[in-house]
């Protein structure tokens, strides 16, 4: 069963990912992205990360992709990109080599280290099982977040402030009124 879920999700993920990179139209790409994100969310669930799965769906698929679509629609940048043409020579083979290299080497590293990544071997903390209470995950997460990672958590607030301020700054019209008028 787990295997089946994994394969399905993996297909979703990879299919979506491929969709993103081969869609000529940005809207299609965004929709493909949603597919991937859902696939990931499924795997989160499979890995007992229920809270994250929820956030994944809500924030990512819900907010971020919508934001993308919104921008696409807003700006009307819906012209298709002709993927037959590659203006930069050797870019694609190079990209392929790079991508394959990254995947290959990292995979090799993972495979080489597979013994140390045994399933749950170093466990000390109680990990809720699939059958367990989904609530436990959120609780643990919260405990961790507000104890060990409380500083990081606070730091995200700074990050969000930056994002807000940045957007304000960028979104200001390049006005004639300017500033020092």
């Amino acid at each position: 069963m787990a295997f089946f879920v994994f394969v399905c999700a993996a297909l979703m993920i990879l299919g979506g990912a491929v969709g993103v990179i081969i869609s000529q139209h940005p809207v299609h790409a965004a929709l493909s992205l949603i597919l991937t994100l859902f696939g990931v969310a499924v795997l989160y669930v499979a890995q007992d990360a229920h809270f994250l799965a929820a956030v994944q769906v809500i924030v990512y698929a819900g907010a971020i992709v919508v934001l993308f679509l919104f921008v696409i629609m807003l700006l009307g940048v819906d012209s298709a990109e002709d993927l037959q043409i590659e203006p930069i020579p050797v870019q694609r083979p190079l990209a392929a080599i790079v991508a394959l290299g990254i995947v290959g080497v990292i995979s090799a590293a993972i495979v080489q280290a597979r013994s140390t990544i045994a399933s749950g071997t170093r466990s000390g903390i109680d990990i809720p099982t699939v059958s367990g209470d989904a609530d436990g995950n959120i609780r643990q997460l919260a405990r961790d977040l507000f104890s060990d990672h409380v500083f990081a958590f606070e730091l995200t607030s700074v990050l969000l402030v930056v994002a807000v301020v940045g957007t304000v700054l960028l979104a200001r019209r390049p006005d004639k009124s300017g500033a020092a008028s």
Partner: protein, 109 residues
């Protein structure tokens, strides 16, 4: 017979990690070949998702909730990035609609 075996197979964290690596590679590949800046962002999101997937798998394998916490942070970062990135893109596209990444080569050399 085969199906039974397949069903009996439990996906180990290694599988997840390999899947994540593959996803990461696809994302990276996308960044390198797509010209539409929006899609490039999407590809970056793919890469971040791949990392997240790894974190979750590792968290589970290690029995450590910290990995999941990290994913949470990454999501925040991704959100912030997207906001800012889209802000920049909007600023650019508002002036010059349908600009692709390849059109922005004023600065070079």
């Amino acid at each position: 017979m085969t199906a039974t075996v397949a069903l009996a197979l439990e996906p180990t964290p290694v599988w997840y990690l390999l899947l994540a690596a593959l996803l990461f590679g696809v994302g990276a590949f996308g960044v390198m070949i797509r010209r539409n800046p929006l899609i490039m962002f999407m590809c970056v999101e793919l890469m971040l998702n791949a990392v997240n997937l790894s974190f979750v798998a590792l968290a589970r394998s290690l029995g450590d909730i910290g990995g999941q916490t990290t994913v949470f942070f990454v999501m925040v970062v991704a959100a912030a990035e997207v906001v800012v990135g889209l802000g920049i893109i909007v600023a650019i596209l508002r002036r010059r609609p349908n600009t692709t990444a390849d059109d922005m080569v004023e600065l070079k050399g």
